[in-house]
Amino acid sequence: MTKRLVADALMVLSAIFLPWWITAPLIVAGCMFMEAFYEGIMLAAIIDLIYGTTTLPHLTIAACLAFLAGPVLRERVRWYS
């Protein structure tokens, strides 16, 4: 739980202080490595609300896809240490 809270805090900070092309891969990584990472979708929606126009919210859609693909990829990818 603590790990998740720290990750959430770091992502919020990255959304405010770092360019979007750093935050976006972090959201995808969050969806890959964390169980049901819906905070990522919320963060992407906030970025779209701040910077996006009324046209297609690309980042939110990408985060939704990453959220849905995350569990599938996690099961299929094998990690060797």
């Binding site: 405010i16 202080f17 360019p19 979007w20 092309w21 976006a24 169980e35 049901a36 819906y38 979708i41 919320m42 929606a45 906030i46 970025i47 779209d48 609300l49 701040i50 910077y51 996006g52 126009t53 009324t54 046209t55 919210p57 690309h58 980042l59 939110t60 939704c64 959220f67 569990p71």
Partner: protein, 266 residues
């Protein structure tokens, strides 16, 4: 472990609910506007802090630039300044003459506009938009035009919040602007410039029209510059060619803008 497995479907149910709520927020315009207003109210001070931090970091890094690079840059800037001074002299004379003529015609120009600091722009944000620290508090309205300096128009206000506003750049992908092309081999032509993102535009014109690189392109009905001609592309079999334009200033380096009301003066 068992508990975690039991929690899994529950977590995904919450996730699905979150997706649905988020999609409603970002797609339903009235909900979006209300939520965006709240988000901007909370985030605007943080964006200002972020901008200040970035400026601080970049000036700190600049102190480590090598002396040789700084001397070379200094020389180049001095040369450019001399060139600009010469041009400015000419421009001042013309502006003075223009003001006198306008006065004779009974049109006294009134300086207008609100100065706004750019809190975030393209490169930092995923879209070709600017977030500016001027909002309803200084009378900004949706549709107001956004300038750099006096004569370069770069965008329009697309959303206004309490203390900030969002500006869509004219060069945003798919954004259409009516422009006037001067200096072609034929008479002046009115065409539509389509934004390509990153400060560039494209215009489709007949292949026979020749327009020199560097020619300014003006917004229709005004004497405001939108972009300058950068080049063209197209093949010999095509009756049309694409004219590529570029804004006079890189959108990523914009720090201040002037927002001018689109309402007619009282």
């Amino acid at each position: 472990m068992m508990q975690s497995r039991r929690n899994k479907p529950q977590m995904y149910k919450v996730g699905t609910l979150v997706i649905l709520v988020v999609l409603v927020v970002v797609f339903a315009a009235p909900v979006r506007a209300a939520v965006a207003g709240g988000v901007m109210w909370a985030v605007e001070p943080l964006l200002a802090m972020s901008r200040a931090t970035h400026n601080g970091i970049s000036s700190f890094i600049q102190t480590f630039s090598s002396t040789r690079t700084l001397i070379a840059e200094n020389t180049a800037i001095k040369r450019e300044l001399d060139d600009l001074k010469m041009r400015l002299l000419d421009r001042n004379l013309l502006a003075e003459e223009n003001a006198q003529l306008r006065e004779l015609m009974g049109q006294t120009p009134v300086p207008s506009g609100v100065l706004g600091t750019v809190l975030s722009g393209p490169g930092f944000a995923p879209y070709d938009t600017l977030v500016v620290d001027a909002g309803k508090n200084v009378g900004i309205q949706e549709g107001d035009r956004v300038f750099i300096g006096e004569n370069v128009i770069i965008g329009r206000v697309s959303a206004v919040y309490a203390y900030s506003s969002q500006v869509v750049l004219l060069s945003s992908p798919g954004e259409k602007s009516d422009v006037v092309l001067f200096g072609g081999t034929s008479s002046d032509s009115v065409v539509t410039a389509i934004g390509r993102g990153g400060g560039s535009f494209e215009i489709l014109i007949p292949r026979d029209i020749v327009i020199a690189t560097g020619t300014p392109v003006f917004a229709l009905g005004t004497s405001r510059i939108i972009a300058t001609v950068e080049g063209s592309e197209g093949n010999a079999n095509d009756p049309f060619k694409k004219l590529l334009l570029r804004t006079p200033i890189n959108p990523q380096s914009i720090r201040f803008v002037r927002i001018v009301s689109s309402r007619p003066p009282l």
